[in-house]
């Protein structure tokens, strides 16, 4: 496998900003705010019991890798979920950003080689059947960062 960068594909294989994850206390109210204020519509909604969230994906635009960029609104299901703890500490706001890749395991390996801690030893299930890993925010300039491979 070549790991040389090319003009089109970054070294890490990350080809788009997939989404910005935003923590909120009331998903329905937040969906309403984003629709009413900006006109963004919900493309997908689900409960992720493992992560302890109810979430909605609002599509903002298509991307030149054939994917799209979304706002991901996240409401905690439980007091002990990571998003609930984030809300306690910070209030509502940006929780993480996610870069899209065609190969999340490969991208995680490449990023890990640079010294960034990958928080998941193997990809786990994200939104809509996607595969995801998280990177340690302390190694990413204070930004909780997710890598995501679309499920379709």
């Amino acid at each position: 496998m070549s790991t040389a960068p090319t003009p089109d594909v970054p070294f890490s294989g990350l080809t788009r900003l997939d989404h910005v994850g935003i923590a909120c206390r009331d998903l329905d109210a937040s969906v309403d705010l984003y629709r009413r204020t900006y006109g963004f519509e919900v493309e997908h909604e689900e409960v992720n019991e493992e992560q302890g969230v109810r979430e909605a994906m609002l599509r903002v635009n298509g991307t030149d890798d054939g994917g799209a960029t979304y706002l991901q609104l996240l409401e905690p299901l439980r007091e002990d979920s990571p998003v609930a703890k984030f809300l306690d500490r910070n209030g509502e706001g940006v929780h993480h950003i996610a870069f899209g890749t065609a190969d999340v395991a490969g991208s995680a390996q490449e990023v890990g080689r640079t010294g960034v801690r990958v928080l998941d030893s193997a990809p786990r299930r994200g939104t809509a059947g996607s595969s995801i890993v998280f990177l340690h925010p302390k190694d990413c300039g204070g930004v909780l960062t997710e890598l995501v491979q679309s499920g379709h």
Copy 2:
């Protein structure tokens, strides 16, 4: 002017996630981190004296409105700049998000009509000759939100 939503253009005229603004203490170190970790390259760098920042735009992907999505790395020039205050309170991390529009004045007016406070009475100069306004984060789900019209 028609304000009816269409399938392609949201009511507000916002057609892309233009950038995620990230506050950092040392721009050169952050640029190096993002290049080394992900392969993102600097497309533009400038000093904005009015906003009290030195900044770099790293291109992530192209968008289907003919624009692109960037990471905007922001280093404060002065102790009293808004980004310096953000760093004091929060440390390094996501500072704001920005949506792109072909008409920032029109979009600001539409968004303002929904009750969201627009912090700039008229668009001011953003990165690379762009025109920008900021929206009050308390009206935007805790997210400091910028609207931006490209300068080219």
